[in-house]
Amino acid sequence: MIATLAIEAGDLPLGGGLLALVRPALLLLEPGGILAVRSSAASVVQDLPSWCRVERHRYLGYEDGRHLIERGSLGAPRGAREWGYRLKKPSAAEVVRAVPMPDTANADTGFAPRGARVEPGGPRYPFDLLERDRVAPPEVAQLYDQAVAAQWDVGRDIPWDTVGEHDPAIESAVCQVMTFLAENELSALYVPSRFIARIHPAYVETAMFLSTQLADEARHIDVFLRRARVAGGGLGVSSVTTSRSLLSLLEYEDFTEAAFVLSVLGEGTFLDLLRFVEEHAPDPATAEIARRTRNDESRHVHFGLAHVRHALSTDPTLFGRLEAAVRRRAATLHDVGGVPTPLQDSLTLLAAGSTEPRAVARGHEAFRALLEAMHAARIKRLDRAGFTAEQAELMSTLHTANFM
């Protein structure tokens, strides 16, 4: 009998370490492959056949000091064995290049990492995002690497000592804006989190990217709430307009629709809002908060755009579905009215820099310009996603007055 694989087991007893050599060796064999175990232990002559019986391998006998085992077929792991990788500078992007994502994934493989051989017969998992083109755009691992490198620290990286004292009306406006931002970022924390548990681990880089997004949102909530309470103020008002708008975000069940409405339209609009806050911030700390949070948000918008663009390129019917998703949301929000008034007034005063009437008039102009800038930028993003000018105009117009 010619063995496919041979191991030297010395005088190891079965219950004293022999199996730590035998079991891994059998894992290297296909069913039917022959393992030779050279052993000088007398007890193994009795124990190895019993173990083979229980494990459904065929014990073929003992000859020339070698036990011969034919690997059984039950429970043999599926897939080719990974071996020989030498990643140069291990990044998520390099891992995806080395071990590409499959077109579709099998929910039976559970949390097994991509590339692992999977023993059959495991339970089915409730993952339902099983198609690469609907889950993982090509840039996702690169975006994850960037996100990890760009994490910052609210305590260390904001010049808190520059906040200073402001006119109470201006400070109050800052506090209201921070309240609004924190409330919206809460939704941006909760909405993606609902999808992570549905993503098949074959596309783990998307779950990893979303987890950086969650960490970003957590940091944003923290920094906005700290700013509101750091200079003698406190939180402002939460409007029903905002509440209704954010609830409608939470109700999307489709990952691509949610990514489109939250990240492309909502967070995209927030980029302009945060630029406005940075530009009109009454102190360097507030400006830095807006600048840093905007950097993070632009990564989320980038991922959202990549996701939607990639999905659209593989499924043209998606244009209509995304448009319908925006229309549906607009229909439920049709009685909501304009920008929440506490926010509108605060942005006006922030841009005015004082309550002096001529300054307020300038602030009001700035606010109107902001709305126009938001609309124009949304159309540009929709154009980049691949929508026609008409579709883009319509969807931008239907976008919530709550910005997110």
Binding site: G15, L19, D47, W51, L74, G121
Partner: protein, 269 residues
């Protein structure tokens, strides 16, 4: 039984037995076979109930199986067994410091044995030792008669034997190869203290026994659904693991001769 539901008897040796048979019942239903089960607290009652025809078939230990065959004069119908029921063996395990080099050395030593109704931990190892020329009466038996009526299903008495060997209350002991192998594979046997001395010839273990008058259609339907269970199917695998097998096998009778001989010899029918 007058209705078309197959009524199966099983002994509730552990709470998991309910999980096993409810799961198998669901699988049978999916296969279009109506099956229900009755649980017994011991094999003696299950055998009597089967012989009276109150159940169609019983999931029997080897001891219950040969008793059913004897009582029905060989007319009972064997329907299937586990892969693990084939070529079962018993082991004589000894302490390395007991100076036992050959089977004859067991005489005069403390020999731990399992329950008196356990085929693998008592009846057959003692039978084979006698055949090998050991005067078992000269060994001091340390008997663990736990879970009587369960015919060794719980494995408790075998674990007791291994414990007695490890802590020195016994110098030798008898266990089935399944428990011996699983305990070794799980790292719960100290190879510095104990090792195997002797392995018995193979014998077969549990069997589904149908009443001689059982409906043949029911028997065929039972086998068809049973053999459709597959290790690779998640729902099946869970049940198969609980029941201790990887594959259901066709019945065979040649593996019970040694048990019949042992029962006659030990006057334990």
């Amino acid at each position: 039984m007058s209705d078309d539901t197959i009524l199966l008897g099983a002994v509730a040796y552990d709470p998991k037995v309910v999980t096993i048979w409810e799961g198998i019942r669901d699988h049978f239903r999916a296969e279009g076979v109506k099956m229900d089960f009755a649980l017994f607290s011991n094999y003696e009652r299950q055998v009597e109930t089967l012989l009276r025809g109150h159940i169609d078939l019983a999931w029997n230990t080897p001891l219950a199986h040969v008793r059913v065959q004897k009582r029905t004069e060989g007319r009972s119908i064997s329907l299937g067994m586990r892969d693990t029921d084939r070529d079962f063996k018993a082991k004589v395990v000894v302490r390395k410091d007991a100076g036992i080099r050959a089977l004859k050395d067991l005489e005069g030593k403390v020999l731990a044995v399992g329950s008196r109704d356990s085929t693998q931990a008592r009846i057959l190892p003692l039978h084979f030792l006698a055949k090998e020329g050991v005067d078992v009466a000269k060994a001091k038996l340390l008997a663990f008669d736990t879970d009587l009526g369960k015919h060794g299903d719980t494995g408790t008495s075998e674990l007791d034997v291994l414990k007695a060997l490890h802590d020195g209350r016994a110098q030798a002991g008898t266990v089935g190869d399944l428990i011996w192998t699983l305990e070794q594979a799980a790292g719960r046997v100290d190879p510095n203290k104990v090792e195997v001395l002797y392995t018995t010839p193979g014998f077969d273990h549990c069997m589904f026994d149908a009443h001689p008058a059982a409906d043949r259609g029911k028997c065929a339907a039972f086998q068809k659904a049973l053999f459709a269970m597959k290790w690779e199917v998640p729902e099946h695998r869970k049940l198969l693991e609980l029941e201790g097998l990887k594959e259901w096998m066709q019945p065979r009778e040649e593996g019970y001769a040694s048990l019949r001989a042992a029962l006659t010899e030990q006057a334990y029918w």
